[in-house]
């Protein structure tokens, strides 16, 4: 009996020390609190950018850019704590209009109904900033002379759920060549997969009354290089990838896409001008009142519109804005131009 209690005493000791440690740390954090308060009051009188928190919510497509900008900023100024979450554009605007989020990430522009919800909560000074373009390239082998341009309908027939089981291009869509069809693309966990489904397949799938997803019998990969090698391996392959990655690839042919206004080849110019149909603009919406009240928000957006636009957008795989668009975003932010 004595042996057993002695053997188990370390356990009790651990528990007791844990409780003591907690109590001790609690005391510490109390002093931390007062420090923070001092910092806060100093901040409001000073012009210097001090300690502060920024909360961003919204599109999971934009989230990587905002996160990377936050990482880059934290290397320069570790006093600004930026939290970025990506529940989706709609959810992001909801939090933004409730006044909880300082900035909303969005892969589309704000809707009239969302603007009204913001107004109802007294959030009427919103700054809209374009931060990048999400473009997707559709590709085939470089020696494929039979196909140059595909319409959204073709893509839906080839890659949509109705294409399930088809082994040749003609089998999927009657006006395409009679060649073997092998498809490579990002897997379901990828943002490029989501973007492709949303931009190309969603409308047609709803019309056809089928599920808004791709066929399941293609070759998915989480690694862009694996997808690229797959497309290179066969003349009549078909695949899709983020444009920023695809444009530098060798031995593949980027297909033109007809979104209803004729065939447009993907180039940085056609994507920046929104002529190329499989692309969309990426935005951030800043609550101007919060940016005025919280220097951390202002410092973050300052950084976003300068270093962020220059480095982060392309680093995470999106198309950079043209210099003119970058300048426009910067001037909109500097003049705090709000949307009507």
């Amino acid at each position: 009996m004595r042996y057993s209690t002695r053997r188990l005493s370390p356990l009790t000791a651990i528990l007791v020390s844990l409780v003591l440690l907690m109590a001790a740390c609690n005391g510490d954090s109390d002093t931390d609190d007062t420090d923070d308060d001092n910092g806060g009051s100093a901040q409001s009188t000073d012009d210097t950018v001090g300690v502060g928190e920024v909360f961003i919510s919204g599109s999971s497509t934009v989230e990587p850019i905002s996160s990377l900008v936050a990482d880059m900023l934290s290397d320069v100024n570790s006093d600004i704590e930026v939290t970025v979450d990506g529940p989706g554009t709609g959810d992001g605007f909801k939090l933004f209009c409730e006044g909880e989020a300082d900035i909303s990430d969005a892969s589309r522009q704000i809707k009239a109904s969302e603007k009204e919800a913001c107004l109802e909560n007294g959030i009427n000074n919103i700054i809209e900033l374009k931060v990048g373009i999400d473009g997707i390239a559709v590709m085939t082998g470089s020696d494929n002379t039979a196909v140059d341009c595909l319409t959204f309908e073709h893509l839906f027939d080839l890659i949509g759920p109705n294409g399930q089981g088809t082994k040749t291009w003609v089998e999927a869509s009657s006006d395409l060549p009679d060649e073997t069809l092998t498809i490579f693309g990002p897997g379901e966990e990828s943002g490029t997969f989501d973007s492709f489904v949303e931009i190309v397949l969603e409308g047609l799938a709803e019309e056809a009354g089928v599920e808004t997803t791709t066929r399941t019998d293609y070759n998915p990969s989480e690694n862009d290089n694996v997808i690229l090698r797959g497309i290179q391996s066969s003349t009549t392959s078909l695949g899709w990838l983020g444009f920023a990655f695809a444009v530098n690839a060798q031995d593949v042919k980027l297909l033109s896409i007809d979104g209803g206004e004729g065939c447009i080849a993907p180039t940085p110019e056609t994507i920046a001008s929104n002529e190329y149909p499989i692309s969309r603009d990426l935005w951030i919406y800043v609550n101007a009142d919060k940016a005025a009240a919280n220097p951390a928000v202002a410092a973050y957006v300052d950084f976003y519109t300068t270093e962020g636009l220059a480095e982060a957008t392309s680093e995470v795989g999106y198309v950079e804005l043209t210099p003119e668009d970058q300048a426009q975003t910067q001037s909109r932010w500097q003049n705090r131009t709000t949307i009507g």
């Binding site: 440690l21 907690m22 740390c25 989230e63 996160s67 990482d71 939290t83 990506g86 795989g317």
Partner: protein
Amino acid sequence: MISRILDSKTKNTISRAVEKRSLAQDRRSAYKSTFFRVILQAALLLTMLILLVLLVSVFLNGTDHILSRLGDFLNGTMRSRSVDEKLGVHQALYGSLWIVIIVAVCAFPLGIGAAIYLEEYAPENRFTAFIEVNINNLAGVPSVVYGLLGLALLVNGQIFGLDRITGGRSTLSAGLTLAVLVLPIVVITASEAIKAVPNSLREAAYGVGATKWEVIRTQVLPYAAPGVLTGTLLSVSRAVGETAPLILVGAVSGRLGPNPGLFEMSALTDKFTALPLVITSWTQQSGRDVGFTAAAAAAIVVLLVVVLVVNSVAIGLRNRFEKKRG
């Protein structure tokens, strides 16, 4: 009379059957039992094999972070690039640790108290039975539903304005939500353990003049303690691994700004994340940045170690009580 005839009849058939059993039959039944044992062993072996493959592959994937930069990994934060030196699970550890502490502090006393009342004090009537049935049902409710409850009560403060205390989307809200989630499990396992206490023990204590409370404190609870601890252990492990309710209570899965010290209690009302969420998030991000696969695997190893530590503390306590009871 009739029963005696039947009795002798059955006796006769049995003895005849036993006598009739030949050597061949004996051998056949021996084969049968060997065959059955092999099947059972195969079942065990397969289970262990699956577990082993999982553990080994997770550990191998995570070696980059676990072996070469464990300290940085444990101190690091959520970052957007997997090659970042500051990538790590510190914030998630903070969230998971405090969720466990809050669950232990809130759910255990309440749940064990409710179980003692139900088993020792409550009158045996329809109302008590009704409550017991409901607690059993609550234990089977999907965890998302508890997440919705937490969202309405603790995050949005829809009825009592509790969000002013919890700070909305915070570790405190998450811990309280999970405490409610495991409460029925604690009540059920604790009352089963109390039910299993032999009645003779209570009667003997009453016999020497103990009051009801003395009986419960000195006889029932020490005897039931190992069983009660097993239940609480199960519920803590469940709380550590839950994801769905945390998403609803607003756990951050992208990038979390604040990185408080492990025992800094003032951060309990701040935005939070937890290990299972970080694992989910990094697995998803591996589509964009393949290096996150290794980070997610390393985070899984950390989660396993946390669960193992919690379990061994509970097992240690249980053994201690069992020895006392001995």
